[in-house]
């Protein structure tokens, strides 16, 4: 599973992308977040408050209870501020 981070989440985690081994117990984005938080204090900080984080699975906005599978690209980022 390919995980991507942008803006201050990327800075906290110290990487813009990482591949993680698919864990059969991970059914939803929420399950994935629980696992990612255990990776480092940076991950923990970035994903501490999910109300501040937007999630996209395969580049489509999804809610935290959206299913994820082995070949998905899952991105975490703050609310957008372009324009």
């Amino acid at each position: 599973m390919n995980i991507r981070y942008f803006a201050w989440l990327r800075e906290h985690i110290g990487a813009s992308s990482e591949d993680i081994t698919y864990d059969q117990t991970v059914k939803t984005v929420s399950d994935l977040v629980d696992i990612l938080r255990q990776q480092s204090t940076g991950h923990q900080k970035a994903l501490a408050d999910m109300t501040l984080v937007r999630v996209a699975v395969n580049q489509v906005y999804v809610d935290i209870d959206h299913p994820v599978t082995a070949h998905d690209e899952v991105a975490f980022f703050p609310p957008v501020t372009g324009g």
Partner: protein, 156 residues
Amino acid sequence: MTIRVQEDDFDLTRIYSELREAPTGQHTPGAISLFVGLVRDMNNNHTVAAMTLEHYPGMTETRLTAIRDAAMTRWPLGKAIIIHRVGKLYPNDQIVLVGATSSHRQAATEATAFMMDYLKTEAPFWKSEQTADGVTEWVSTRESDMTARTRWQETK
């Protein structure tokens, strides 16, 4: 090219010339609406020395295309265009251009406002601002941007 995400600057004159030409087989537009966003030298009472725009390559283009398509469906437009820059920018630099043509004045102006409001809330771009004393901070979202978008869901 109706959707562009680029580091390079864009040329309003050239884009206007393109918009002014009728799409193949259609009549001359009658109405052209343009919006350009520029880097401000001041934001929330602090001086901005530079700005960096990060984005999510791939998803950005997909979202911008969806926003443009939604505008084309909702209003009788001839052409519609969205250009957004990424990378490091300085005060007064052009950031974004949105434009629409129509034979109806209100279609062109409303579609332009619509595309900007959706771009502001859905297109995956993130701004960080560098102050004069070298401090870099991520720009926060504004409540008003979400309010602006929501109005399109209520009424036409």
